[in-house]
Subunit: 205 residues, 2 copies
């Protein structure tokens, strides 16, 4: 791609560093910004600069936060002995939006993935083990995505903390609400039969 | 979507103003930036700010340029009496990459589209008419996209300049190189038969 302007070329190159955005899309986005009032570009540039410069991670759960401790960790209504282990902040947002979880979180910041060169030392696993060692935690819920990497991460953490007095569980795998049974994959359907729940318990939800 | 950080929320909101980028994609992009070295965000923010602040449009053809006149307009090898009228800079880049055009351009900056509230006064049409009036132009090539809006724009410009001593043409519609004839739409195939070219002329390309 040949550009008639170095400034434009530079902006397109930087924009196309983002995942899923190629040179053509980047050019489309930058040209869109050029057609909008200047303020829009300045607000975007400012917001990106500020978020990267000033962002904090909660000291306890590693969730993104503007304070030292996030709002969830400092909320006195949450059960401090119940920890949900998730991959990143998007999972926290997804679980929070269900309103079904009243404990705290621990954000690992990724999952163990040798293919991508991500090992346990790159994640916030040590901090989690410390939290367990401190004795304040009664149950860990593993809420990683049900993939090979997610399962590996769960198992690695489990091995680190199995000698401590803490219960571990994983989120239930099963047929999603509204899905047709016949289109479910075998693994999920099999798990949903093995992990069946008493009918009366299911009525309470 | 509930965010645990105002900074993050702000960045996601600004990012999701871009066309084709929703809140979820914006969150994914911002989280990606947070995982990368700070420099990447700063370079992106800086490039966006700089391009919007300092971008120039060529005084003559309205192409994006770092100088007052773009490299194409100042190139003594280009034919100054032949003008290709295009919608935006991406079309200039596409035509330049063919190497088949040795004239100058005129970038309209959009096309007449009443549905989107874009009228002739929002485009660089007046400047084009002035260029034609000055008498230095012998031929205008309309290279708008073959859509309703493109055709409307072509016709509007044609009406404005038809009394002047200038030839007008449009780029040829026809079967694209490498395409199967049977899958071409009727309009295109019909035009390609009406606008057929002498076989010997086609051999020269």
């Amino acid at each position: 791609m040949e550009f008639s302007s170095k400034l434009l070329e530079n902006a397109v190159n930087e924009m196309s560093q983002l995942p899923g955005i190629g040179k053509r899309t980047a050019l489309r986005l930058v040209l869109h910004l050029l057609r909008q009032p200047k303020e829009q570009s300045f607000l975007l540039a400012g917001a990106l600069q500020k978020v990267r410069e000033e962002i904090n991670f909660c000291k306890s759960c590693h969730n993104i936060s503007d304070q030292e401790l996030c709002e969830i960790c400092t909320n006195p209504m949450r059960k401090k002995e119940l920890i949900c282990v998730v991959e990143d902040i998007r999972d926290v947002m997804a679980i929070e939006s269900t309103g079904s979880f009243k404990g705290l979180y621990h954000v690992l910041g990724g999952k163990i993935s040798p293919m991508d060169g991500i090992g346990p030392q790159d994640l916030n696993i040590e901090a989690l083990v410390e939290r367990v060692k401190s004795g304040a935690i009664k149950e860990l819920i593993f809420a990683m995505s049900p993939t090979m990497e997610g399962d590996t991460t769960n198992f690695y953490i489990f091995k680190q903390i199995q000698d401590f007095d803490v219960t571990t569980s994983t989120i239930a795998r099963g047929i999603a609400a509204g899905n047709e049974l016949e289109y479910a994959d075998e693994v999920t359907l099999g798990r949903s039969i093995i992990d069946r729940v008493p009918f009366e318990a299911s009525l309470k939800l």
